[in-house]
Each structure stands twice: as structure tokens, then as C-alpha cells.
């Protein structure tokens, strides 16, 4: 799901800002992007080394824990180059995951150059390629940095050969480096000055690209901008070209890396703008700011409203927490324009919200933040994509919740989203990848060799098959060596049915899901087996059935519990036993009562754990 952008359109007759360079760092996950950023900050004295204990740019706890960057953070480095001049090098960090590729593309379009970091031991991976293509389409000067050359397993020359063959970049451009050991950092800084073009723009009509935004409790929304034409100052009345919002600029500044107020942001400058903006959705990422009084006529290219790709239901474990969940979602939304939510009700789970996400990682992060930062205990239903349905009555429906699918006989055509997935793998796992993709209804588009040892596949896959356990399967079948990137390509019709799950003969709406008709019996079997494992034995037998319409396709039974009794209950046992039972009862509260069956939270995610096909 990449978002192709045309470049900013650097106008040749415009004015240059010769001592500014705007660049970003792009890399596959774990190739050392963050360490390199830290090292550049340290080397340019932007931060003293004693402050560098933590990875500075990844400031969210979750980001640091998962080793990924979710929000893009800019920073200005003052660098005195060998030519004697001092340059402002604006580093615009980019998110490192496929879910956030829209943000990557925004960040890229604020730059003229990119450092493409490649692990000298791992070589080119799927996101290396995906990011490289995004960068070349944004007409950026790409400087390959072969990182981690200090590792014993490093083979920088082989990686450079692959870069030459696959990315068609001359090997002379590649810089061998070790961000960890501080090797090659000076060369990188010089290359930025000499290879990345200085920004050029028109001094007259203001156009500034909003490439990110951030909600601050005290100051409202802070926009991260790159000025293309004109200038931004305190007091400038600005208009957002997509949203038509008009606000007055209260403050502008740059990142060093903390926010520092400046008088003005001119052509090519990267910095922040504070105006009176209440929510990040008011002026979206990708929007163009222009002067309210002398507006530009054409916005900068590429603004697109981000649409969620994956939906799931989020329900409070305790019904009383519904209000808290709504408040928490509203607060997260202030800072996350891609998150969407609407109230929904489930027979099984009560009142909750249907939430839309960019992808599975985004979904997991939001859930984790809700639980950690807002202390909520949640039940998440299994994720679903958005299906397009044409009814026999000629109505067009978008279905993001399987429970809302109209009855089968009233559906004329049903379509599901497809992605183009690029998978890079060591050649020995070719068979494993083919088997996996085939079992997920994939069609091979191409298969090419990057080197004799590495292969890149392109597959056409239904998104629904990708969001459920695909990535884990990919990793486990290739011992972690394969990497993947994907982009949405469009909708195609499919022979899809809704599979319902019945517990004790009662349909549990939150467990329904949509599946290809051919796979329905096998999925039904696996899901009922899986549910049998996760549903604890109760005081009575619990039949579990999977059904398409009225037709039962699979059945299992959780046998009634036979024994749950404590042998001794004398003197000291009495308090212990009472406390144990009180605790058991407390534990049961975390279970969801569906009819007379007590369901653990895992039951609602059981569909994620199915092993497809094979």
C-alpha cells in the first residue's frame, strides 16, 4: 500500500537556498536507521554524546520497544562542511513499517535526498526496495549506506554488487559505514552536502507541505512543514488548500532537536507551525498551506485522505468502561488521523466501537496504547477488511463487519480488496513461499533473481489473506529470512461466504468472519478445534459449530468439567480456599458471558491463529 507521488516540482527559475539540504533516512526494519540518525546528531553536535543514551528520535515507548518508528520526527543539524560553509541539514525521519507507508511518502516528498541504509550482512530486503522505489519516484537523490560493516557476517562488497544490479546505482556512490562504531559518518555528511540538491522555490506565493502533525495538550496541533515557495512567519494568515481552514500562525520554529522559535521559515526550510488548530484531522498530513491573502493556485501534489484498510471491533471488558474507551479513542484520534471509530453493538460483547486502522501493526499499537496508557481492558474481535457488496436490489454496500453482511441470497456480487505483495527470500525458500501464497489464494505475478541466492516474488493476494497471520507464517517458514512489502491494488469479485460460529446452538456475532467458499469447511473445522482448545471446560457440555447459513460445516464439543474441587478444607485452608475462589471468580469476570457460556478473550482472536491450507 504505497502511495505514489509526483515530486514537488522544483521550479528551475526559482530561487535556491544554497545552505540548506533536506534529506531522510530510509531502510528496512532493523538495518540501523535509528542508530545512524543518532550518530549524525552526535557528530554534528546537535546533541552531546552523553545525551545519546536513548535513541533520540523514537520518543514513544512503544516505538522504542518494538524498534520501529511510527511518527516521523524532523531535526535540523548544523554542519560545517569541508568546503568551509555551514549547512542546515534537515533530517526528516520516516516511519519504518508498511502500515505507515503513507507517512513515509509524505516525508519523502519534503526532501531532495535520501540515505538508503542497507545492512551489510542482510542485504537488500523488501522494504529496502519499496522505500527505494518511493524515493526514486519522488525524484530524490539516493545515497546508499552499507551499514553494520563491523559485523563478522558483513559482506559489504556483495551487497554493493546487488545494489548495482538491482537498484542500478553506481557502486562509487555507496558508502560503507558502521553507525554503531562511528565509521563512515563524516563521508555521509559530505555526501549529503555534495549530492543532495539545494532546495529551489518561488519566493512569492506561499506553499508549504504538511508532512506530519502532532497534538500537544497545551499548544494544540503542531504542524511539521516543509516550505516550498514563499515564507511562513508569526502572524501569517494561512489557508489549508484541502480543508479550506484559515488560521493565523502563532509561532514558527525549527527542531534542534527540541523545538526552537525562529523568525521565519523560508524556501526549503523545514520546521514547525503552531496555529490555533484543535485536532490533527483539521489540517491533514499531505495538505498544502498557502497564504490566505495571496493564495497559490495549485496545491502541492499528492494530498490524499488516508482510508483504513483493516477494521475490528473493540469492546470494553467491563461494560462500565464504554465511556472511558470512547474518551481514550477520541484522545488517540487527536494525534492519529488514520484511526477511525464508530459505535457499534454486538449481541455477544455489548457496546463497543468499530475501529479502522491502516494495517495490523497500527491495530496492535492502538490496542496496546489503549490498554497501557488508558488502563483499559479490551476485547478485540478478529480483523476484517472492507468488502464491497452489490445487492440483488442494486444497492452498493461497504461492509467492514462480517456480522453486517446481508443474507447470502440477497448478494449479487461481492468484491474484496487485493494487494500487490513483494516478497524477497533466500532462494532455498522458494517452495515455501509458493506454498504459502498459493494456500492464501495468491497469484504469482513475477519471480526474479536479485542475485543467484536471492529471489524477489511479486504476488497478487487478497488483503484478507494477508492480514491474518501471513507475516508470521512467512517468517516461520523462512526462518525469519524473508521480507515483505505490499500495496493496495483494487477490488476483485470473489466467491465469498460468511462463516458463523454457534456456541450452545447460539450464533456469536463477534466470531463471524468472511471466507472464500472453498476454504469455508477447512477453516470452520480449524476454528472449532481452536475454540475447543481455548474455551475452558464449563459446568456443562458446550457444543461449538461452524455454519454457512443453516448448513453446519464443522462441530466440536467442549466436554463438561469433571473435577474442580479442593481436597482439604480445615483450619488454615479455609481462608486460603476462600481467597482462591474469590480470585477464580475475579478471573471469571474477565471472561465474556455469551449466553450461559464463559468465553476467554483469546476466543475472539482465535481466527488469527488458524493455519491456512497446508
Amino acid at each position: 500500500m504505497s502511495h505514489r507521488l509526483s515530486p514537488l516540482g522544483h521550479v528551475s527559475h526559482g530561487r535556491a537556498n544554497p545552505f540548506v539540504r533536506n534529506f531522510c533516512i530510509i531502510a528496512h526494519i532493523d538495518h540501523g536507521k535509528t542508530t545512524l540518525s543518532d550518530r549524525l546528531l552526535e557528530m554534528t553536535g546537535t546533541l552531546a554524546s552523553r545525551d545519546m543514551e536513548e535513541q533520540v528520535l523514537d520518543s514513544m515507548d512503544l516505538e522504542r520497544e518494538r524498534g520501529i518508528t511510527i511518527k516521523a520526527h524532523p531535526v535540523t543539524l548544523k554542519y560545517q562542511a569541508d568546503d568551509g560553509n555551514t549547512y542546515d541539514l534537515n533530517l526528516i525521519d520516516t516511519p519504518g513499517h508498511v502500515d505507515f507507508s503513507y507517512e513515509v511518502s509524505r516525508s519523502l516528498s519534503a526532501c531532495e535526498g535520501a540515505l538508503l541504509v542497507i545492512d551489510a550482512a542482510q542485504g537488500i530486503e523488501a522494504q529496502t526496495l519499496a522505500n527505494f522505489y518511493l524515493a526514486t519516484e519522488a525524484k530524490l537523490e539516493v545515497i546508499p549506506v552499507i551499514n553494520k560493516i563491523d559485523l563478522p557476517a558483513a559482506d559489504p562488497d556483495a551487497v554493493i554488487r546487488d545494489v548495482e544490479d538491482t537498484l542500478l546505482i553506481e557502486k562509487e556512490r555507496c558508502i560503507k559505514a558502521s553507525a554503531k562504531e562511528g565509521i563512515g559518518i563524516k563521508e555521509i555528511l559530505e555526501a549529503i552536502v555534495h549530492l543532495v540538491p539545494a532546495p529551489v522555490g518561488n519566493p512569492d506565493r506561499l506553499r508549504a507541505l504538511v508532512f506530519d502533525s502532532f497534538f500537544d495538550t497545551y499548544r494544540g496541533v503542531i504542524l511539521y512543514v516543509r516550505v516550498v515557495d514563499g515564507a511562513l512567519e508569526q502572524g501569517t494568515r494561512i489557508r489549508s488548500m484541502a480543508g479550506d481552514t484559515i488560521v493565523e500562525v502563532l509561532e514558527v520554529g525549527t527542531f534542534r532537536p527540541r523545538m526552537v522559535i525562529t523568525k521565519r521559515l523560508g524556501i526549503g526550510d523545514v520546521g514547525y507551525v503552531i496555529a490555533n488548530i484543535k485536532a490533527v484531522s483539521d489540517i491533514g498530513v499531505g495538505d498544502t498551506l498557502t497564504g490566505a491573502d495571496a493564495p497559490a493556485h495549485v496545491p502541492l501534489p499528492g494530498y490524499r485522505k488516508v482510508t483504513p484498510m483493516v477494521y475490528c471491533g473493540l469492546y470494553p471488558n467491563e461494560g462500565d468502561d464504554y465511556g472511558d474507551l470512547r474518551d481514550a479513542l477520541e484522545k488517540l484520534k487527536l494525534n492519529d488521523a488514520a484511526l477511525s471509530f464508530e459505535p457499534e453493538a454486538s449481541m455477544a460483547l455489548g457496546f463497543g466501537f468499530r475501529c479502522g486502522f491502516l494495517g495490523l501493526l497500527h491495530m496492535e499499537i492502538v490496542q496496546e496504547r489503549l490498554e497501557r496508557e488508558y488502563d483499559l481492558s479490551l476485547i478485540a474481535t478478529s480483523p476484517s477488511v472492507v468488502y464491497h457488496v452489490l445487492t440483488t436490489a442494486g444497492e452498493h454496500l461497504s461492509i467492514d463487519n462480517p456480522a453486517k453482511l446481508p443474507p447470502l441470497p440477497t448478494i449479487a456480487i461481492m468484491e474484496e480488496p487485493y494487494v500487490k505483495a513483494s516478497i524477497i527470500t533466500p532462494a532455498e525458500y522458494i517452495g515455501a513461499i509458493m506454498d504459502l501464497c498459493q494456500s492464501r489464494r495468491g497469484t504469482m505475478v513475477s519471480m526474479d533473481y536479485i542475485s543467484p541466492l536471492r529471489v524477489i516474488f511479486v504476488y497478487d493476494l487478497p488483503l484478507a489473506e494477508v492480514i491474518v497471520d501471513f507475516f508470521d507464517q512467512l517468517k516461520s517458514r523462512t526462518k525469519g529470512y524473508a521480507s515483505m512489502d505490499y500495496e493496495l491494488t483494487g477490488y476483485k469479485p470473489g466467491d465469498l461466504v460468511k462463516l458463523d460460529i454457534l456456541l450452545n446452538a447460539e450464533s456469536v456475532d463477534a466470531l463471524s468472519f468472511i471466507v472464500h467458499r472453498d476454504n469455508a469447511p477447512s477453516w470452520g473445522r480449524q476454528l472449532t478445534e481452536r475454540l475447543k482448545e481455548v474455551i475452558p471446560r464449563q459446568m456443562f457440555d458446550v457444543p461449538i459449530q461452524a455454519a454457512i447459513g443453516n448448513k453446519i460445516v464443522a462441530r466440536e464439543t467442549v466436554k463438561a468439567m469433571r473435577k474442580n474441587v479442593l481436597a482439604k478444607c480445615y483450619g488454615g485452608d479455609i481462608s486460603r480456599k476462600r481467597k482462591l475462589l474469590e480470585k477464580q471468580k475475579e478471573g471469571k469476570k474477565r471472561m465474556k458471558q455469551v449466553g450461559n457460556v464463559e468465553l476467554p478473550q483469546e476466543a475472539f482472536m482465535a481466527v488469527l491463529k488458524l493455519e491456512r491450507g497446508l
Binding site: M539, R562, K563, V565, A567, G571, G572, I574, R578, L581
Partner: protein, 387 residues
């Protein structure tokens, strides 16, 4: 401090010659010097207690009370009888004993005023006994029980374990048959609980298949019920069977929330709605007594709702079950109403036997007592009452 209503006395003797690999009680390996120190502490603790009171039962539990030698038991009973003005013939005085002891010890216990023995037989299968880490054989157990009768014990109980490693239904049947054959008056059948941080927990983690699963243990417990009741025993509590008139008076006290004074390390007592427990560590307990400090580790005052819930949990374990009249008398509550939701749920699941007078567990319910009791722990008390 003792209270006038005290009816039971529990004395904890933590010593064992050998510590069983499944046990997580407060136990100490037998050592003469430690026994002397401990008994001195026990004597002080008892002497410091304040009377008067009507003691009906004494229970020496452990550990293995038989491990400290009959003279020390005699000293303790003499002290208790004197201190609490007890007529030894009017009370039940139980000692937990290991069948590895000889006839001389047994005779001297009887002379000391002990009139009931609870014998840790565990099994009549020597392979099972070996796996349980016991230091006696089934022949030792038979010999011991005969000697106890000869010494004049008219009230003898033995323990059996259901669910020991490698146990089969056939093997357990044999143990039950042997137990009945010995002519004991009372049998306790305990499902094996794997306690954390015991050697069994480690074994279970490595080879769970060696241990009978819940379904098999359920079958074993059902077997115990059918064999023992057929032999004339009354299944009067989940784990206990007795010939008529031989129910454990001391344990019945626990199940009726009667007051009980407790002495010794880890001993737990109850008075006036307060549950308390002494220090669990040997040095902590002895040290506190020697320094004239209280040996109490914890006290918990039960609020009214907890007391009623606990009373229900305990009553449900007995064959009497929850008797509405009794709950009205003891607590002034309508047990039929306040347990309405719990009764309805468990009744629907087929675990209760109910009539106008009360409710109790049926055979299936006894095996699922935890699930049932958990429902009864929190009664729906009317808001204005006992706030």
C-alpha cells in the same frame, strides 16, 4: 487470648522424619534440638492463653505429630487438660500419626489422653507408596492399625490419596478394599493437589502424563464414594467418610465456623469472625514467643457478607449442605433468597439437590465444588441489612 466460646484447639507439630515430595505444609525435618526449642515455645504460647473456655476437641496436626515421641505429646496433653480444665473422657483428642511408629508409641499416646488417631496410610499399594516418598509399607500400615485397636483406640481414621503418579482405577479400588478390610471407623480421601515449588510440581511439569488427569481422578473419587458408602460409611464431607457417630467433631467445628484456638507455627484459628494465623517460619515463630511477642502473622476480620459467603462455602462441602433454618438462626438471613442467583445457575448445570429445607451438592456437584462454591461466595444481601 482465648475466648469463652472456644470449642476447638489445634496444635501444630511441624516435624517430619522425611518430607513428602508433594507436601507444602509448614514442616521441618526432625532434629532433637529443634524439637526441644519448638515444644518450649508451644508450652509458653499455651500457658499465656487466657481462659475460661469449653474445649470440646483437640487436634494435633502437622507435619507428623507422631514424630516428636510420645513423652512430648503426653506433656502437651497434660498442659492442655490442666490449662483448659478438660475432662479427657468428654472430648475428642486426635493425633495425626505415621504408620511407621511402633506399638509402644501407640500405647503411650492412648495413655496421654489421645483417643482418636488419623493415620497417614495414603495407599495400600507399595509402588504408589514408594512414588509418594513414604517411609512405610502397606504391611506397616496394617500392623499399625491392628496395634492401635489393641491399645484401646476406638476411633481410628486413615487417609488415602487419589491421583498419585501412575495410579490406576484398579489399584485405587484395591486400596479402598484394603482400607475397608482393616475395620477403620473413618476414611479421608484426598485428591492429590500439585502444589507449587514442590518436587512434584517439577515432576508434573516434566511428565504430566504420569499423573492421572482430572477425568481419571473424578472416576477415582466416584469409586471411593460408591465403595465406602456400600460398606456402610457416610459421605459426610467432600473428602471424608465415617461410620455413623464417627464423624470428626473437630473438623465439623471448622465447617460450622466454630471458634478454634490455634497454637504453633502456621496454626490458623478463628474467633469472633476473625481468622488469624501464626508465623509460618520456624525461627520467626519460636523467636516471637521467646521474645514475648505475639506469634501472629495475619489477622483478617470477616465482614458480614464474607462470613455468610464462607459459611455457605463450608456448608456446601458437607452432606448437610446449606440448611435455611440454620442460616436464619446464625445470621438472620434468608439463604434461599440471598443465594438465589447462585442456586439457579448451579441447579441449571445439574450440580445441586434442593428442597424446601435447604440445598446441597449432588454427586456431580461434589466433584465441581469449587465452581459451585465460587458462585455462593458473594451472597446478594439486602442493602439496608448489616451495613
Amino acid at each position: 487470648m482465648l475466648h469463652p466460646l472456644t470449642t476447638g484447639v489445634y496444635v501444630h507439630i511441624p516435624f517430619c522424619d522425611r518430607i513428602c515430595p508433594y507436601c507444602d505444609f509448614a514442616v521441618v525435618k526432625t532434629r532433637e534440638s529443634a524439637i526441644d526449642r519448638y515444644c518450649a515455645a508451644l508450652h509458653s504460647e499455651i500457658e499465656r492463653a487466657v481462659g475460661p473456655q469449653k474445649v470440646r476437641t483437640i487436634y494435633f496436626g502437622g507435619g507428623t505429630p507422631s514424630a516428636i515421641g510420645p513423652a512430648r505429646i503426653a506433656a502437651l496433653t497434660a498442659l492442655l487438660f490442666d490449662k483448659f480444665a478438660i475432662d479427657p473422657d468428654a472430648i475428642e483428642c486426635t493425633l495425626e500419626a505415621n504408620p511407621s511408629r511402633g506399638p509402644d508409641d501407640i500405647r503411650r499416646w492412648r495413655e496421654a489422653g489421645v483417643n482418636r488417631l488419623s493415620v497417614g496410610v495414603q495407599s495400600f499399594d507399595d509402588t504408589e507408596l514408594h512414588r509418594l516418598g513414604r517411609d512405610h509399607s502397606s504391611a506397616d500400615a496394617r500392623r499399625f492399625l491392628r496395634a492401635a485397636r489393641s491399645a484401646g483406640f476406638e476411633n481410628i481414621s486413615l487417609d488415602l490419596i487419589a491421583g498419585s503418579p501412575g495410579q490406576s482405577l484398579a489399584g485405587f479400588r484395591e486400596s479402598l478394599r484394603s482400607a475397608i478390610e482393616t475395620g477403620v471407623d473413618h476414611v479421608s480421601v484426598y485428591g492429590l493437589t500439585i502444589e507449587a515449588a514442590t518436587p512434584y510440581a517439577t515432576w508434573f511439569a516434566r511428565e504430566p502424563q504420569v499423573f492421572p488427569d482430572d477425568d481419571l481422578v473424578a472416576a477415582l473419587l466416584e469409586e471411593a464414594d460408591s465403595q465406602l458408602t456400600a460398606a456402610g460409611f457416610i459421605h459426610y464431607e467432600i473428602s471424608n467418610f465415617a461410620r455413623a457417630g464417627f464423624e470428626s467433631a473437630h473438623n465439623r467445628g471448622y465447617w460450622r465456623q466454630a471458634d478454634c484456638a490455634a497454637f504453633g507455627m502456621s496454626a490458623a484459628g478463628y474467633r469472633d469472625g476473625v481468622r488469624y494465623v501464626n508465623h509460618r517460619g520456624f525461627d520467626e515463630y519460636c523467636g516471637a514467643i521467646e521474645a514475648h511477642r505475639s506469634p501472629l502473622a495475619e489477622e483478617e476480620q470477616l465482614d458480614f457478607g464474607r462470613r455468610v459467603g464462607e459459611a455457605a462455602m463450608l456448608a456446601l462441602r458437607t452432606s448437610d449442605g446449606i440448611v435455611y433454618e440454620e442460616f436464619r438462626r446464625r445470621f438472620g438471613v434468608d439463604a434461599h433468597a440471598i443465594f438465589g442467583a447462585a442456586r439457579k445457575k448451579c441447579s441449571a448445570a445439574g450440580l445441586l439437590e434442593e428442597n424446601e429445607a435447604g440445598t446441597r451438592l449432588n454427586n456431580r456437584g461434589r466433584l465441581l465444588a469449587n465452581s459451585v462454591c465460587a458462585e455462593f461466595l458473594t451472597p446478594d444481601l439486602p442493602r439496608n441489612e448489616h451495613a
